[in-house]
């Protein structure tokens, strides 16, 4: 945004962000500690953030560690994604009542609270843009998503401390937020000084910032932030070469290596549940025992289940190999045909949260290496 401005907010004034958002009626969600991980939940104060914690992520492994620094955002993405709030795991959207011989169909959508998200990572902003394209801007928008997206206030956090399974630099989705936010922060701890370089991304963001003590950013402060982000881009835990990836995977559609991957793949669906761009849902109808009332609900589904591709007569993707290939090729190939972008934003969740640590970047590299 041309009119964006960059200011400095000191750490001691950071609580003001929470207070101003609360005062304006936002329900605030952000990263917080639970069950040995950083998850997204309702928060109301700086202390709710994972203060002083950092994470170590590898294929199938996630561990937290306490550090001497009092960073608020030293942990990168965890097992939750913002779809938890914007496109909930289970959602009832239609209610039906039998009235004599007639059926009365009513919407079950309820207006959700106005939401503010604190700590949205650049890769996640790109995932939200994908969600917008699929769920909001298409010919059949999802009402519940529209309602939740409408009044959303987004505080992005740039990643100065990329994780072990991060590869946003490869996907051109980070580590610096470029659009899709109201405010974007870069957290800097320099000797004894702890501050945030804050960039505005919307009028609303700029307006809100007026109520938080800040000062104009000096050249040295912005340079420090820029340098930290350049360094971050250079030390991503993973890389994925996306040049010609669409055709590369098509060329290897019948490669026996897919079968090798599914010796390990348990088709448990964890990768799809933690993916910030996976949007597939199943629709279920339930009835009351007496058959007088019914509800239609939506649940997150996964292309790793047999039922996912079930049509009359059976499942199209009965083998585990066909299901893994569908998932990976959808992210890196078919998505481009379908939506004009890649379906992967390089957050690395599918690598970390795969119990057996199957690594999309490794598998892509295998196909590239064995490409004639």
């Amino acid at each position: 945004m041309k009119n964006s401005m960059v200011v400095i907010v000191e750490r001691k004034d950071f609580q003001n962000l929470f207070d101003v958002l609360s005062k304006r009626g936002y329900q605030i969600s952000g990263p917080t500690l639970r069950d040995n991980a950083v998850i997204y939940d309702n928060i109301s104060a700086v202390e709710d953030l994972p203060v002083g914690w950092t994470d170590h992520q590898e294929g199938g492994r996630y561990r937290l560690e306490q550090t001497n620094k009092k960073s608020l955002f030293a942990c990168v993405v965890g097992p939750h994604t913002w779809k938890k709030i914007l496109y909930p795991a289970e959602h009832t959207f239609i209610q039906v009542k039998r009235n004599g011989s007639k059926l009365e169909i009513t919407s079950a959508e309820k207006k959700p609270p106005k939401s503010a998200l604190i700590g949205v990572r650049p890769c996640e902003l790109h995932a939200l843009a994908i969600y917008d394209k699929v769920l909001k801007d298409g010919p059949y928008p999802a009402t519940s998503y529209l309602q939740r997206r409408q009044d959303l206030f987004i505080v992005a956090v740039n990643c100065v401390n990329p994780g072990g399974t991060c590869f946003c630099a490869s996907m051109n989705t980070g580590p610096k937020a470029t659009s899709g936010f109201d405010l974007a922060l870069t957290e800097i701890i320099n000797n004894d000084r702890h501050y945030f370089v804050v960039e505005t991304g919307s009028k609303l963001g700029a307006d809100l910032l007026k109520e938080i003590p800040n000062k104009e950013a000096g050249i040295e402060e912005t340079q420090t932030a820029d340098k930290a982000l350049q360094k971050a881009a250079a030390r991503m835990g993973r890389t994925l070469d996306i040049k010609g990836i669409h055709d590369l995977l098509y060329r290897h559609f019948d490669d026996p290596h897919w079968g090798e991957i599914t010796k390990r793949c348990m088709t448990c669906g964890n990768c799809t549940m933690v993916c910030p761009t996976c949007f597939c849902v199943n629709v279920e109808d339930t009835t009351s025992l007496d058959g007088r009332q019914a509800e239609r609900l939506r649940k997150w589904d996964s292309c790793f289940t047999v039922g996912f591709s079930y049509i009359h007569g059976g499942s199209i993707r009965a083998t585990e190999t066909s299901r893994y290939r569908q998932w990976m090729m959808h992210k890196l190939s078919y998505w481009q045909n379908q939506f004009g972008t890649l379906g992967c934003v390089g957050c690395g969740r599918c690598i970390t949260w795969c119990p057996v640590g199957i690594d999309i970047t490794e598998e892509a590299a295998y196909f590239r290496k064995n490409d004639k």
Partner: protein, 259 residues
């Protein structure tokens, strides 16, 4: 117009602990609605009043372990329009199927003062090994909501919403953190069928596979992961040999790790 007669429901017991039948009685809030929708015609655990068959819906709990039961299940099948098995015993042979890995005669002589009175089959087997089963409901015990869902779907002529996918999917929908990835706790979730609502992982425990193998379970990949988590071979055998020990995928995997 005379109202349609209510479908007759019967509940049968074979070798089992009664826990699954109790799940039906445990439907406290819904019990009146159930009694309104069906005629509970045979349910000795709940009532001495017995109505004669045939029955529209037979719920069968327990596994086949005696020659007498192997006969009885055929009679029940003949009297039942729909036969639905409830629980791990009826669906996989239950915890008592652990004896299938040994010679049952060895136990009889050790445990009973008068082994000559004991008439038992060498193996504990699921109902589907003996008669045609219309639907199998998993769990040790079953989930009462799944129980209601199956009866409900049958009454309303729709397909029951009982998924065959992994516990992981319902675990993540619930917002749980993976206990295996974040805490290194061995968990059976990736090979176990959903239905319990990811009960144990919700309390930071690994899944015990009460609901048996999911569709296309990759047990060898999970067992290899357990080895990396320093689970001994003996313990891997034990993990696969619980309530669903004699289900084919779990039986085979446990045999791979047996000395």
């Amino acid at each position: 117009m005379t109202p349609k007669p209510k479908p007759k429901l019967a509940v049968w017991k074979f070798a089992s602990c009664d826990g699954c039948q109790l799940s039906l009685l445990d439907c406290e809030d819904e019990l009146l609605a159930v009694a309104n929708a069906v005629h509970i015609a045979y349910f000795p655990e709940a009532s001495r009043a017995v109505a004669k068959g045939p029955y529209d819906i037979s719920l069968v709990e327990g596994s086949i372990t005696t020659p007498h039961d192997a006969e009885r299940i055929h009679k029940i099948r003949r009297m039942s329009k729909y036969l639905i098995t409830i629980g791990a015993c009826a669906t996989a042979g239950g915890i008592q199927a652990l004896r299938n890995f040994k010679d049952v005669k060895d136990f009889i002589s050790i445990i009973y003062a008068h082994p000559e009175y004991i008439e038992t089959l060498n193996k504990s087997t699921p109902i589907a090994d003996h008669v045609f089963v219309d639907f199998e409901l998993r769990g040790c015990p079953i989930n009462k909501y799944q129980m209601l869902e199956v009866v409900n779907a049958l009454l309303n002529g729709r397909k029951p919403n009982i998924p065959n996918y992994s516990v992981c999917i319902e675990c993540k929908r619930k917002g749980n953190v993976c206990v295996m990835v974040a805490s290194g706790i061995p968990c059976m979730g990736p090979v176990t069928q959903a239905g319990c609502g990811a009960l144990c992982p919700s309390y930071n425990r690994g899944c015990y596979n009460c609901f048996g193998p999911k569709e296309t379970p990759n047990t060898s990949s999970l067992a290899a992961l357990y080895e990396k988590l320093n689970v001994s071979h003996d313990d891997i055998v034990r993990m696969f040999r619980t309530f669903n020990a004699y289900s084919e995928p779990f039986r085979k995997e446990s045999e791979m790790y047996e000395k």
